[in-house]
Symmetry: C2
Subunit: 701 residues, 2 copies
């Protein structure tokens, strides 16, 4: 793994292709670095100029002298690979490639991207891009981007215990989030746009941002994550540090999928798997830019919240009622205040105000300090966890009388506190809040989202940490069959049996007489199932005969099921599996999906013939252990059928098997694309489970 600190905090920067014309992208990037006040060496590389924007230029990267760690490439795609090699040879160990015309531009250009990926790997080059819009590192005074979103004022001086980092695959969106966050008083330490991710990936940057000392939240915009199981590792690290990962993932709609393919060349993975992965690993998913900022503002400026009981202070009844509605709609509570707090509040608000929750101080109380005192009362109140103040901050000078008191308050208070302005706040009022370290929201729904996230995060974090504290389930190895595509049951089941999946006794018969003989050995009644690589589902085509009790039945069935198979596939029929019929029990299912981007997922729930109709299953990234499997079963719609069954079921054995299948998926990540065990029959407690059918699908070795 290349050194990202050298990329994001280089001792010197070469801008390859830097132009004297600051209206062009090639010129803007150099101008932005100068304006940002980068203190290190800054060297334009341009063979046509001896000087660019007042800086001495060199003709080639190899001419660069001194400690240059980073090359920013703003040159045509076809020159990128040779320049990267030149960088590596010259000791410039990191590069940002702004150039487009790679994987996003079609198959030919994709080859170009493969080439630079190989170069980066060979030379251990930290490569951001191509098709990146650059990055911004606030502490290092590096504004290495031509994005207009980054020009929006110098990074606003904010007084917050923590700052946020942004990692975005789309450059425009990454700096747009920054642009909006700055306007709302959120401090940022790092903004990185990863583009096509030929080298440095989203998770690499998240890993780096987690190591920065004051990161309080990481905001992600992704179109597709080629994350595999590393997502779980990184999410665990984030939980360890108490840093929420707040993510927007686009690509749900068919239209978004079209856009994503043409853009970052990232195949948009299946929405359900992303949802499962984010939920499992405790990422906070949101849908809008404003929502990213709502959460970032809360997490970077507020102490951890004790719970979801919100105290409201307002100067207008209408605004207080509105916020209360939105908070309750967002899952929060606005409890009535205890008698003592009400009595206290009543002393510093007018008689026509309200001392309940919302506390309506009325505008009159502003002159007497009643609002600040009300906030302090809520900060002390035992039955309140967080505080929101409804105000109209369009009014220039509105907060001026309370400036000192707000700053003093901020030193003392122990609970999250936010302002909600129903008018658009004026600059002077925002400045007072900035100084006091209090964030201002301009939507009631935004307040609800921010405070709900604060209230919920400790639980989410605890869940992730509890998992991390348990031993990671070990991968379960066994030899996979040769070849690719569908593996028929007679090959799949013995392989899976080695991994610990219990099946009824079964053998492959290659003719009717052999079938009958095997049935005699195995014991009646038996089932007969046609076997072929061309047949994924057999019951619906007549390829399965159940409940055969005597030899002639078996012999006759052999012909029927193999002929049924022959009718639908041109692949050879390998014979028919003779399987001992299992006793009846509750029919569940267990499956595995090996996703090319996100790695293996285990699926489990109610099975049998109606699995697709009921669709009462869970999906979780593998591996999971028995404990987690049981928890997930409790989340099924029909959980009471499992846990409140008249005779207790062997859910321990079922959960164990779910864990085993998930561990199989981890062992064979990349090769195993599908396992389908349906039904898995669950018997009474202590009597175990049996998989009655097995389908396996493999990718090429």
């Amino acid at each position: 793994m290349p050194d990202l600190d050298r990329l994001f905090r280089p001792r010197g920067i070469a801008v390859v292709g830097a132009s004297p014309d600051a209206t062009k992208i090639r010129g803007r990037i150099l101008a932005a670095l100068k304006e940002g006040g980068y203190p290190g060496a800054l060297v334009p590389v341009n063979p046509s100029h001896r000087e660019v924007q007042g800086l001495r230029a060199v003709a080639r990267v190899s001419d660069v002298a001194g400690a240059i760690d980073l090359a920013i490439l703003a040159i045509p795609a076809e020159h990128v690979s040779s320049t990267l090699i030149e960088c590596a040879v010259s000791g410039v160990g990191t590069a940002v490639v702004l150039s487009s015309g790679f994987a996003e531009a079609g198959p030919e250009a994709a080859a170009l991207q493969k080439k630079i990926t190989a170069i980066a790997a060979e030379w251990d080059l930290a490569l951001l891009g191509p098709n990146s819009v650059g990055f911004l590192n606030a502490d290092a005074c590096i504004r290495a981007t031509f994005s207009p979103g980054a020009q929006s004022a110098p990074v606003r001086a904010v007084k917050t215990p923590r700052r946020a980092a942004i990692v975005s695959q789309s450059g425009g969106i990454g700096f747009a989030i920054f642009n909006r966050g700055v306007a709302r008083g959120v401090g940022f330490n790092l903004v990185a746009t990863t583009g096509n991710e030929a080298g440095v990936t989203t998770l690499d940057v998240v890993d780096y941002a987690l190591k920065l000392p004051d990161t309080g939240a990481i905001l992600l915009f992704v179109e597709g994550l080629r994350a595999g199981r590393r997502l779980g590792q990184i999410a665990g690290d984030a939980a360890e540090k108490g840093v929420p990962l707040i993510i927007v993932k686009v690509g749900r709609s068919a239209a978004a999928h079209r856009a994503a393919i043409s853009h970052t060349a990232s195949l948009t993975g299946s929405e359900a798997l992303y949802a499962a992965a984010f939920g499992h690993h405790g990422l906070l998913r949101v849908e809008e830019q404003d929502e990213l900022i709502d959460l970032a503002a809360a997490f970077t400026a507020c102490p951890p919240a004790g719970g979801k009981r919100i105290g409201i202070v307002t100067i207008t009844g209408g605004g207080g009622a509105w916020l209360a509605d939105r908070l309750e709609a967002g899952g929060l509570e606005v409890p009535e205040l205890d008698r003592a707090t009400q009595d206290e509040v009543r002393r510093f608000i007018p008689a026509y105000g309200s001392a309940s929750n919302p506390i309506d101080t009325t505008a009159q109380a502003l002159e007497t300090g009643g609002r600040i005192k009300s906030i302090e009362a809520l900060d002390r109140a035992a039955d309140i966890d967080q505080i929101a103040v409804v105000a109209s901050l369009a009014d220039v000078g509105h907060l001026a009388p309370e400036r000192e008191a707000l700053m003093a308050l901020n030193q003392r208070r122990t609970k999250p506190l936010v302002f909600a302005s129903y008018t658009l706040p004026s600059a002077d009022n925002l400045a007072v809040l900035d100084e006091a370290g209090v964030r201002c929201y301009t939507s009631f729904g935004g307040v609800a989202r921010g405070l709900a996230a604060l209230a919920d995060y400790p639980t989410t974090r605890a869940r992730v940490l509890a998992r991390r504290a348990r031993p990671t389930p070990k991968p379960v190895w066994f030899e996979l069959p040769q070849g690719k595509g569908v593996v028929p049951e007679y090959l799949a089941a013995p392989a899976l049996a080695k991994a610990g999946v219990p099946f009824p006794p079964a053998r492959l018969a290659r003719g009717p007489h052999e079938a009958a003989a095997l049935a005699d050995t195995i014991g009646y009644p038996v089932a007969l199932k046609v076997q072929s690589r061309g047949l994924a589902h057999r019951a619906r085509i007549g390829g399965v005969a159940l409940g055969l009790h005597i030899r002639p039945e078996v012999e006759a069935a052999y012909g029927r099921v193999t002929e049924a198979g022959q009718r639908v596939t041109a692949e050879p029929i390998d014979g028919a599996l003779v399987q001992r019929m299992a006793p009846a029990g509750l029919e569940m299912m267990i499956g595995l999906i090996g996703d090319a981007e996100l790695g293996p997922f285990v699926v489990a729930g109610f099975g049998g013939g109606r699995v697709e109709v009921e669709h009462d299953v869970f999906t979780a990234p593998a591996p999971i252990d028995d404990v987690e499997a049981l928890e997930l079963l409790r989340g099924l719609k029909g959980a009471s059928r499992l846990f409140d069954a008249p005779e207790p079921l062997d859910l321990v054995a079922f959960a164990r098997l779910v864990a085993v299948v998930s561990a199989v998926g981890v062992a064979h990540d990349g090769r195993l694309t599908e396992i389908d065990l349906n039904p898995v029959v669950v018997y009474r407690a202590g009597e175990g489970v049996l998989a009655l059918d097995a389908l396996m699908v493999l990718k090429e070795d």
Copy 2:
């Protein structure tokens, strides 16, 4: 009804209590009127000054000379009523009362409010307030408010075919909506804050705003509507004119309820009834200020939409994908473009762009006019109804090259067109869009809300107009029983029978022998039900005996049911109702709620003993006709049980009865607070319905 035009477009204004100190509310209101450029006579009324803020002052309202139509009262509550009389006597026919200290301030102050309500009625005075924050009339250059939200720039000059009006019970919120709308380029013709509504109500102002020539949307903020059935009338007028009513109603949460009571003294009505009324009358309900503006921007600047198929033009794949996701989540469609449109678009975008939907022109196409041409192609495309452009408008000068083309485009285009900026737009770019008459959104979800509302409104409007085109169901009169509280079935059923509700034969018995004799007459089997004003529900206390076949059973049952009644009520037992048992059928229910604020509502759906568990009923404001009742039945969860029954049911008779009950509610609005017919048994088609039980609750005469 007083003349609202005289209130909102007065020939002259007196400001009673006007202060020379413009930092005080009493001074700010005069200053605001001056700054707003009000061209009429402006007279400060203040006994202590001969001149106020450069204007000649008079001591009393009666000293005012000339054509003064409006008095704005910024004086203590206790002087308001005498001043109002003075106004009326002096020919000043309208007043805005900014003073607080009325119904919102407790019972004593509520008496003060009753007094001014009476004065307004007696003198036919158009009275806005008390506890109002004033109003703003853009065309009359009247900024009659001290709200800081109104000071946000002069009303921005907007080039839209229509403007929006705001009616808010909360003054702070009303002008906050204005403040935010102006910032987003929405034009407003009228903002009125009605406060405690001692005189002019929300619906009065809506009625007035509907008569203004260019009103394109009306934005409402309400805490409670004492609207009665007038809401339906006004909503119908709005549909007639094609003006959507977009409403925020707060007061869902217990906390909001506490805030509302202390604020506008308006008892917050039941949420379910509001939802039913808004849905029925086609009001568009939203939850946030930003959502009000999202819809207002769409309706005032866009032509009506043909449907929900959206074409997207973007310069960034990530932004296009994100908007597509949000549009589909909002119920809209982003279809792939037809081949011809794709071929056309491909001619003016680079090869690495995308000609599908979203059209990704890439930033490069901006220099060659590719974006404008793409918009034009979508405006012509047969399979696209509306157009959204994703752009980054933080970039100063971004739209300058397209300025002329955008203005020309706006003359020609036939479909709704909006911009969605993922960065915060700069002033110069907003100015270009304003000039071109195109609104800019800054949230993808906001675009989805705006365009979805445009797509849905024609259907909503058509539904309301179709109802209006049918004759209004006539009220159904009959003589109500005397007294108040619960009316027992033996009195309620005969009264309702006169209105057309069919019951089985029944008579009241006052002793066991009379009961047996009546049973002989009525015919067996019979039911026996105890009757008392103290008993609303009798089955659960053992007060009902069913299926009595012979005299001794009836005699024995009489004692049982009347004793059961005596055990739970101290009210006199009037006897027991002997009712012929009806044949079995499908058990439905019909109810009526007479709400003090919103008038009568009819409730109907599945009935019987499990009505509260199933809760499969509809609620609609009365009256509704048979057609509407049938439509509403189709919307029940269990509708297939009604419409796909093995033997067709007499739903025509049931719908007729629903309509009758609703018409009964209209006739007795104010007196009848509850009717409960449960069960109403529905028989096979042509065989009618029978109400087997009737409960009625009356208010005092």
